[in-house]
Amino acid sequence: MEIFGIPHQAFLGQLMLGLVNGAFYAMLSLGLAVIFGLLDIVNFAHGALYMVGAFAAWIMLERWGVNYWLALVLAPLVVGVLGVAIERLFLKHLYGLDPLYGLLLTFGLALILEGAFRQQYGVSGQSYPVPELLSGATNLGFMILPNYRAWVVLASIAVCLGTWFLIERTRLGAYLRAGTENAKLVQAFGVNVPLMVMLTYGAGAALAGLAGVLAAPIIQVTPLMGSNLIIVVFAVVVIGGMGSILGSVVTGLGLGVVEGLTRVFYPEASNVVVFVVMVIVLMLRPAGLFGKSA
């Protein structure tokens, strides 16, 4: 059987891989959407924080023998703390200003972080082994799926659902959303809004760090891994609608699939197809697929 001229097995395989990558995009763009939606900051440091997460896991393994599962908890914590520091030191001075300032500041931070790691570790990258428990692969009939990739999909989906639940369905989330609408009023009710904002940025950073740890066994851990990905992830957020959590998750998965299929039919275009989609979506729906027009 053939689908669009390619054997259905290969087609299903590519579809599966697209979902795997898409789950990954979803998790990264989720952090961006949370930070933008709640703090109005276009966080260009997201890619760098993702890279720091991967490096943190690798350094912990090399220096202290910290295993993957522990790193999965510790590395995002480290990146989260770094995020809190960034918010306290720099970002808090920018609230109320044009979002452009935040964009430029975080972009600068990303360059500094990348440069520092490049100076220290070079660009060739470091190898992070796949954890023993998840090594090997499963035969799905139409393709061999490495167990580790399956785990990444499950983990990403769990994280996306958890974040959505936290923000849309809990009291904390309600405070958060209210605080961003009208900080003064919420503060008058005795809620510590600056603390909440700080923790939100920290949590967004931690999400990027977690994605970094998840990616480490799949790709080489290099200072460039963040900048290679960040533009695509931004496109995902823009297509989904800036700040929309549901939008970034759905678009992340969808674009992973679109990109995967492009790699089969016209591989040379796989790097730009995301932007073609972005242009089309923005022409038809300027606020993005799930965005509320202002």
Partner: protein, 400 residues
């Protein structure tokens, strides 16, 4: 008023250009180096490569013909237009005597054009494309370290002869990848093999799983990776993850020692690769490598060794002919034998530096006894066999 200012500034502008141009023959001899300083090829050449050129100048004594030697460096960010405009600027305003080109074929082809137009020697080290001394050769280009023909002939023919007849290519989609794929496919077919297909990926691709799944579907025996640096390492890692290495043999057509180091021997054991130099091949190389290691805590790549060697070759030529006259220097370079720790070879009429190439195999974790002890030599291929023969050359400088 406005017109006056314009004329005045033009006059000042012209005046300074004249002032710069005049002391050329007794001012400093300037060597320029343009390479990837920050992206995916920065470790195999990059800042350390620039330092090797400076070392070569220092070891030469820091001056030639009584003129100090200066080294200018720049990052081309793998963009051809950045490389050529920087080269042009140096030649127009800094009176550059000679240009060394680092990694990335697109940039090297662009710089070769500028160098030919301005009549300055251009020594390309890290770029792979065989076009530099074939259809795009110029009287001022020297291609020093290796090229895609040599990689294809040395690594490709060995594999085909060992029984791997059916090939599938995973190719980086730019000048270098195309050259490498073409040259390797030619070698495979010439040795009785076949090409099952190929897929081209964008430079700096983040995920190779889709491409590898397509390669797996081809049922070929060899998966040939016609890419380099970060693209090579990520493709190699994914190939291992998806179990491709179980059914197909992976051939890295351009692999540097830095790539093997960063992937680790566990991921690369048994990989066969072609290179022009290995730090652990003889005493002179080990001596150079130790000096490098003391500074960088890693071993030099073949490109970094070649950066040093090529700079020394140029300075020797300047000394021998007694001037920085480009034509005299090119004639000299094409007439003498180079002999140092990196190479024993000679620049041919088409600009190709012909020297021995090696086929190496990556050792297993148990065989490797000291840090960076990664390769064993499978074969030493004489330069005449490794590179395009003059009879096959499409270079217009070759008289037939």
């Amino acid at each position: 008023m406005k017109l006056k200012t314009l004329v005045a500034s033009l006059a000042i502008g012209l005046g300074t250009t004249a002032a710069l141009a005049q002391p050329a023959n007794n001012g400093p001899v300037r060597i320029g180096f343009i390479t990837d300083m920050s992206s995916l090829y920065a470790d195999i050449d990059g800042p350390a490569g620039a330092e090797m050129i400076k070392w070569a100048v220092q070891d030469f004594g820091g001056s030639v013909l009584g003129r100090p030697v200066e080294v200018l460096t720049a990052d081309h960010q793998n963009k051809a237009d950045v490389a050529s405009s920087k080269a042009r600027e140096w030649m127009d305003n800094q009176n550059l005597s000679m240009l060394v080109g680092g990694t990335s074929s697109g940039t090297a082809l662009a710089m070769a054009k500028v160098a030919a137009e301005k009549k300055r020697p251009f020594i390309s080290i890290g770029a792979g494309s065989s076009r530099l001394t074939n259809e795009d050769c110029t009287p001022y280009t020297v291609h020093y370290a290796y090229d895609t023909v040599a990689l294809a002939k040395v690594a490709g023919s060995a594999l085909v002869k060992a029984g791997s007849k059916n090939w599938y290519f995973l190719t980086a989609d730019y000048a270098f990848g195309h050259s490498l794929e073409n040259d390797a496919a030619t070698v495979v077919k010439a040795n009785g093999g076949t090409v099952a297909g190929s897929v081209r990926h964008p430079l700096n691709a983040s995920d190779f799983s889709s491409f590898l799944l397509q390669a797996q579907g081809s049922k070929a025996q060899i998966l040939a990776l016609a890419n380099a640096g970060g693209d090579f390492t990520n493709a190699m890692k994914a190939a291992k993850e998806f179990g491709i290495t179980k059914n197909m043999k992976v051939a890295g057509l351009l692999v540097f020692i830095n790539d093997v180091h960063s992937l680790g021997l566990a991921n690369t054991e048994g990989l066969q690769l072609a290179d022009s130099w290995y730090w652990n091949q003889d005493d002179a190389s080990r001596k150079f490598a130790k000096r490098f290691f003391d500074k960088y805590k890693r071993m030099p790549s073949s490109l970094q060794a070649a950066d040093y060697s090529a700079t020394t070759a140029y300075l020797n030529a300047v000394k021998a002919v007694g001037s920085t006259d480009s034509d005299k220097i090119m004639a000299h370079l094409k007439s003498v034998q180079q002999n140092d720790f990196y190479t024993k070879g000679k620049v041919r009429a088409d600009g190709r530096m012909v020297h021995d190439m090696y086929l190496f195999q990556v050792k297993g974790t148990k065989e490797s006894t000291t840090p960076w002890d990664y390769y064993k030599t499978v074969a030493k291929v004489p330069g005449e066999q490794a590179f395009t023969s003059l009879a096959d050359s499409k270079c217009s400088l070759v008289k037939k």
